[in-house]
Point group: C2
Chain length 625, copies 2
């Protein structure tokens, strides 16, 4: 227990929950890391598709960014409404389930689960990728680095939501701070230079134009840029993590996140256009990220440049944390509706949903190991889930307002309807633009997860129906004592304890000895001397000693067969198998004694019937000292 | 069970043991592979130390071989006597234990265990080494090949001793046959050519002489050549595997093995001298083994050459099998004296000592993986164990004859005494000559194993003393029924079954509900309705319902604490914890229900006391269908 205390901290009382709840200051790093870090890769994803247009492409970045920011604002308003309407959290899953129907809820849930698993994997691998491109000697350790960061994030999350928020606050605010300073300084330079700023470090030379502009290309640029929106959903799933006033605090957190993200996106795209920065090809030598080119152009490659790059690197790899904050909460919501094992709904010692955290760590760890930390191929799969969930959530909110039809319901429904329409179109665009590259995998994953959900629920339903009990206890049958069976090896204190216990449970005791060799004569003598004589002296019927030969030297199977046959001969009668067991003092002594008792217990549990019970009669070495 | 049947065969009855016993025809491959295969590496090991003497070194091989063969014959006669004196097997361990003392026995046992682990590892790696030098493209797969062969040998041994003998017979007799043909043909050519035979394939050019002859060098050559003697011990450990007349069959097997080995060693050394073959350096290009040079010189590189080389390769890698035949038998002998866990003495479904086979496979597998299949560094450690065991065994036999002092005892004692003296000197020589190269590791290993032996025996002794029981059953106390505790979660069929069972065991039942949330009102109602009412109607005292709050949401720990406290309040009174459990239908349903019942059972077993018993009250889903 002490190792657990050290690793994840001391248990927290349920009644101390309020101290564990968070405000916006911790909420932004916990639920906003994913969204904010996308300022580092969203514009990059869009701009790299514009490379074939050469310097001409730069002029499209401002209108496309404007479209993405508009979409962001629409999504923001609809999630604000969602938080107010569903203060117990659950996000897209809950909204779609309550307003559209169970199937739509499951669709949203499966899409989100896929999204979170990939968010965790892609975030870590992107961070490690940035680190490795800065320090190439670390390249062979990519997978180990990924797994190491995953383990750290997992432990921090197991320690509780507050602690994670505190730890992640520094890099988050450092990232936002340095980027804002760069943006403000860059805008000042643009204005002071009359719109033609001189970069401190020369820009990479713009590539020649090799392609003409087309609507399809611009659509793909937009779809890629939309990866900047993943993570916006996060706050709505985690409303319950906030302290009172819960809804206000959650909304404030969302507002801060979206406001910062919008400012960062707008600032970056304005500067990219003003400086005329063209992306470099990530596959080719001389590659530099957009933010690296931009920071160097504004400030040169000094201390501030390296500070900014360091912050980006840390924030990218920690963006996985948003998935850790939301995945367990979503699983809990699903499990409470019986679609996932109930263990997902139990809160561990630190009031977090331990199982969800561990399962997410295992799943995204497998993805990282399977793809050896190079998750480039996973990025295409990634936005589909998020946008599908967005769409279902918005559409659900429209239904919600329509069902309630309170004052101004039309205004609210319009906001969410617009959100649903735009995110729906975006889902289709993303799916089309990225289908071949891998989005089809998500399309296979989602229905299999839904099948799993349905199966799990069917099982729970079946068990519930079978175990529901409207019959009172049958007191009349209680007088019939069970038959007690005691498997014994030889006569010793352990056996004696077992026989005495069995005799206390029932007047009908059978001692069973399985005989692979021929040492039963001694046992018979001892049985007569130590057991039968005492019983006769007390005027009682002594227990029988049954000896069963075992030609194949098996011990456990003949006992099981004997018990099953006894049960067949006495239908309806309870049988108690009393298993005398030696309990070792130290764990390594385990190897010194056979563990047949435990094996027998397990075999009877699996192969027995409802009338057969097993009793462990433990005999502790340590007490006899 | 079906996979096991397929892999290792159907179980064999104890009474069918005789059919599993073997005669000399299977005995030679099973117990002789190690000894016979040493004809392939013993002369090689000696000759490669003679390289610095150039062509001059060849003249020393015949006297040194003569000395080794003499030693072999001495050892043979003393082991023949050992077999007759100890027909139940056990070899050096048993002999040293009975005649010198327990400590000497343990020393012999530890030395032999070390020897067998290394025999298995070195044999396999030598075979794979030969294969890899023939087919260099397999080099990167060295470890996998080693492990693969190890797995095959392990499974064959688990299938039973007879089957292993049959499978290994073909390569063994092929190896001996081809080598004998080469020797006979070679001797004929030597004689026909008047002592100056012309090699069919030219010999590698002899290296220049770089060192002078010294006694120390010749001593080292002798010590290296003595590796040819390891494996002679094997038959004496496995006497019980032979069919009636056991001793005669075992002696015959030993005679055949030693005779063949002596002929092979003598023939090889004669031909090496006659042809003037100088060993080539194994580390340098152009390396060829002695047997390869010799066979090519006699027959040229035709079909027969490749057949011989193939046989050598297979026999080397299968020589590990001797360790598999003896290690489990030795462990069983040690375990029967309580120095190793008793499981080593149980015979599995195929009448072999399953645990010993599996433990040897694990240990030698670890050695192979740790040294990546390159066991050159292990060879120095290797002969020490065998010769130490030889010496102790011979010395023990001298004591044996002296104690009995039957007719001709002096003759027998002389044979064994000579053996002890010579093997003792050899042990010292081997240890001195190879100390720095690695023999010191064996010197560390042996005392740690002996410490383990002593500790294990102390434990068994302590348990035996503690559990020995000369007190008859206490019938007077049997009337006091135990207190039954039933942990319950909510009211359902599983709970009902548990409560009914508990009420049958005892009139004093406590139902225990641990309360992390607040749904106990419903439970109280149902308890009153379904339990209390029925009991009252039957005029009985209903069981109490105890509700325990759990501020940290733990379930198992509060139950454990309650039970321990109840036990403290009722000293001497038995407490039965009845654990209602849902038994899943399919294994994967395991994940859908919490396994707290099993956890509680385990916790009570470990942390409870001798008055606390647990009962599993299994409720099977499948029966309710």
């Amino acid at each position: 227990m002490n190792i657990l205390d050290l690793l994840v901290g001391k248990p927290i009382k349920t009644s101390d929950e309020r101290a564990e709840q968070i405000g916006p200051a911790q909420g932004v790093p916990i639920f906003g890391l994913d969204a904010l870090s996308s300022a580092a890769y969203g514009p990059e994803a869009a701009l790299s598709l514009l490379i074939p247009l050469g310097l001409l492409g730069v002029r499209y970045i401002v209108p496309i960014s404007a479209a993405i920011i508009t979409l962001l604002v629409i999504v923001y308003f609809s999630y604000r409404q969602t938080i107010a309407a569903y203060p117990s959290g659950g996000g897209s899953y809950t909204v779609a389930r309550f307003n559209i129907g169970a199937r739509a809820g499951l669709l949203a849930a499966a899409a989100l689960l896929a999204d979170y698993i990939l968010t965790a994997a892609v975030g870590i691998s992107a961070g490690v990728g940035a680190l490795v491109s800065a320090v190439p000697s670390l390249l062979p350790h990519t997978v180990s680095l990924c797994v190491g960061i995953l383990v750290i994030i997992t432990i921090l999350n197991l320690r509780g939501v507050r602690e994670a928020g505190t730890v992640f606050a520094i890099p988050t605010y450092l990232f936002v701070g340095t980027l804002l300073i760069t943006i403000v300084a860059g805008i000042l330079r643009v204005l002071l230079s009359g719109g033609h700023p001189q970069p401190v470090v020369p820009l990479p030379p713009p590539p020649p134009m090799t392609e003409a502009v087309s609507y399809w290309l611009l659509l793909k640029v937009f779809a890629s840029g939309c990866t900047a929106l993943t993570g916006v959903e996060a706050v709505s799933n985690g409303v319950k993590a906030f302290r009172e006033p819960t809804v206000k605090n959650a909304q404030r957190t969302l507002t801060i996140i979206i406001f910062l993200l919008a400012v960062l996106l707008a600032g970056i795209s304005y500067l990219v256009k003003s400086y005329g920065i063209v992306a470099t090809d990530p596959g080719k030598p001389g590659y530099q990220s957009i933010l690296s080119i931009l920071t160097a152009a504004v400030f040169g490659k000094g201390f501030f440049y390296y500070l900014s790059m360091g912050a980006i690197l840390i924030v990218l790899s920690l963006s996985a944390n948003t998935a850790f904050a939301d995945f367990p909460r979503l699983c809990r919501a699903i499990a409470r509706n019986n679609y996932l094992p109930h263990t997902f709904a139990y809160r561990g010692r630190r009031l977090v949903y331990t199982y969800g955290i561990v399962v997410l760590a295992l799943l995204s760890g497998s993805v990282l190991i399977l793809f050896r930390g190079v998750t480039d191929r996973l990025i295409p799969l990634y936005a589909v889930g998020a946008f599908l969930a967005f769409t279902l959530s918005q559409a659900g909110m429209v239904m919600h307002w329509w069902k309630k039809r309170g004052p101004h319901w039309l205004k609210s429904a319009f906001v969410n309807g617009l959100g649903a329409l735009v995110t729906g179109i975006t889902t289709a665009v993303v799916l089309l633009a990225k289908f071949v590259e891998g989005a089809w995998i998500t399309l296979l994953f989602i229905p299999s997860v839904i099948t799993l959900f349905v199966r799990v629920r069917q099982h729970y339903h079946r068990v519930k129906v079978l175990t529901t009990c409207k019959i009172p206890v049958d007191v009349a049958g209680l007088n019939q004592a069970p038959i007690a069976v005691v498997p014994i090896d030889r006569w010793n204190s352990i056996t004696r304890q077992g026989v005495e216990f069995a005799a206390r449970l029932s007047p009908e005791v059978v001692a069973l000895h399985v005989e692979p060799d021929e040492h039963s004569i001694l046992l018979r003598d001892e049985w007569q001397h130590y057991v039968e004589k005492s019983f006769r002296a007390a005027g009682k019927e002594p227990p029988q000693l049954q000896i069963v030969p075992s030609p194949y030297r098996f011990i456990v199977i003949p006992i099981l067969q004997f018990v099953l046959e006894l049960s067949k001969k006495n239908p309806g009668r309870n049988i108690v198998v009393v298993i005398p067991e030696l309990v070792e003092d130290k764990w390594y002594e385990y190897f010194l004694h056979n563990q047949r008792g435990r094996l027998l217990e397990w075999m009877i549990l699996v192969r027995g019937n409802e009338h057969i019970f097993t009793v462990s009669a433990p005999w502790h070495i340590r007490e006899q000292k």
